[in-house]
Symmetry: C2
Subunit: 313 residues, 2 copies
């Protein structure tokens, strides 16, 4: 039904802000032709500046052999930008009325086999796709800022999104050098933003209560959990820290700590089902490796990170 | 009153677990003599294994010219370990009764000019120091696991801790290659653990509600916020992401998003005072740099991180 992923060579990036430009830079670096739509042609020079800045980093990451800034065209004609495109990444402003009307137009202009993905972070696809005549092929593909560097793309459909659209988007982003995550439910904030937002709100509470300054919060993160979290997510960090007992030990022994006032967020009830889901998830991620091996791998990566950014800290 | 920091050459690390051994490894790598106390001499070989594992990473980080594993002695005689020491880092089990009795003994055995720091993560110094005859020189110096790699040490005193003790500990940890943070208030979880715990509880809620799997949570963190957070804490990440308007734009424009259900943790009231503290904190951290410069620096560091750990991801 949808276009063969291996035949995607041309991508339309819609929206003139840092997210639209960031996506354009990413796809260019992977060797795609990119046709960018900006609402106002006056924004062209600031758009190009973002691309050029991103390009420095993308070169340091390693470009695809066919990657070139010459593969970019910028236009304020939507028809022109959508002509003969193979995939659409939409990053226009986060205003529901604007977006849902835009999807109505996209639905009319684009052949049905072309997937339309939205970068939205605050809206749901169920809301966005309401006026679209072909909502089955619309899906959220939410990047993390800066989108040309951070690999995460959170994928989630709306009520009318076809399951095959989600599969296609997952495979496509993966083939385009991203790390996709297909969500199980349509919830506000997706996965990464929810986790970050919990941390952020606790940070604001601490500043409001005179418990820490913004500088202390950043010092704590940069020098504490963050370098480890770039290597092991919070689940695996606790799994490996608890030795051979792993996540089971963490939850069985330290479960009562969830009741302690270590954050303003109350913990869920630690049911058997939750315990087992956490334990099984960590065992799957361990891929049969022992904790010593995983701890050593963690340490090597933390050392590599700290050494890599030593001069900038 | 306290010993001259430049004259500290011998450190006692008390406690036979991974934290005690991790501290010993850290101080050894910085060229100190370390006298380790383990409760049960049977634990000596597992203690040495932790040190040896840590040493591999510490070598990759770069050792002090006088650093040597020969500078380590391990004993189960507390008197022997405390004899002629210049600083005590205590990491015995997190049981209040055990710990407060231990501080009573430490108070009797150690000359008054020797600072005693506790690695505790779950207890307060006000509780720990209760039975100690010389509580003024006792303080918390809480590391982040693994303590031989992550630079953060959170410092906070109890009700009876002298201000000069906190100053001494701050300067000492700094001179010993750590990144200390002197807390403003004695609160459970300190700074880093509170932030991490908020994120962790949101993660557990999401798994419990069927919104995400443990694997998805770790995928989201590793490929999304974490590599950036190792470079910029959450405050500076938002400050730089909002362009020239910085944190002020973030709070003034996106403040209403704090009310959205993007996490189960309710946000504090965004008062003028909180807004201004956040803005001023970020301006201080910016040190006069423009956002383009900070964004480019962020990107360079993220590239360095992603390239450094490419093979292990």
């Amino acid at each position: 039904m949808y276009i063969d992923i291996n035949k995607v060579t041309t991508i339309s990036s819609l929206g003139g802000g840092p997210i639209g430009a960031g996506w354009a830079a990413h796809f260019l670096s992977k060797g795609f032709k990119v046709k960018s739509y900006i609402h106002d042609i006056e924004e062209k020079s600031s758009y190009e500046t973002i691309i050029k800045t991103a390009w420095k980093s993308l070169k340091e990451m390693g470009l695809h052999e066919e990657a070139s800034l010459k593969n970019l065209t910028i236009s304020s004609s939507l028809e022109e930008v959508l002509h003969e495109t193979h995939f659409v990444q939409e990053s226009i402003p986060e205003i529901l009325e604007l977006k849902s009307n835009f999807y109505k137009i996209l639905g009319e202009l684009l052949p049905e086999q072309i997937i339309i993905a939205s970068s939205t972070s605050g809206l749901t696809m169920t809301e966005i796709q309401k006026l679209c005549g072909t909502p089955e092929r619309t899906v959220i593909g939410h990047p993390f800022n800066p989108p040309y560097l951070l690999p995460l793309v959170e994928i989630v459909g709306g009520k009318k999104t076809a399951a095959s659209t989600i599969d296609w988007a997952f495979s496509f982003y993966q083939s385009a050098g991203k790390k996709p995550l297909a969500m199980k439910k349509e919830i506000p904030g997706f996965v990464a933003t929810r986790l970050q937002e919990a941390l952020w709100r606790e940070a604001l509470h601490m500043v409001a209560a005179g418990e820490a300054t913004p500088e202390q919060i950043d010092t704590a993160l940069i020098n504490g959990p963050a370098p480890r979290m770039a290597v092991q997510g919070q689940c695996m960090a606790f799994h490996v820290a608890c030795g051979s007992g792993g996540m089971a030990t963490n939850l069985d022994q330290f479960g009562p700590a969830l009741k302690l006032p270590w954050t303003r967020l109350k913990a869920p009830e630690l049911t058997d089902s939750l315990r087992n889901q956490m334990v099984e998830g960590c065992e799957t991620m361990s891929k049969g490796k022992g904790f010593e091996e995983m701890a050593r791998q963690r340490d090597k990566s933390i050392v590599a990170i700290l050494n890599a950014i030593k001069d900038s800290r």
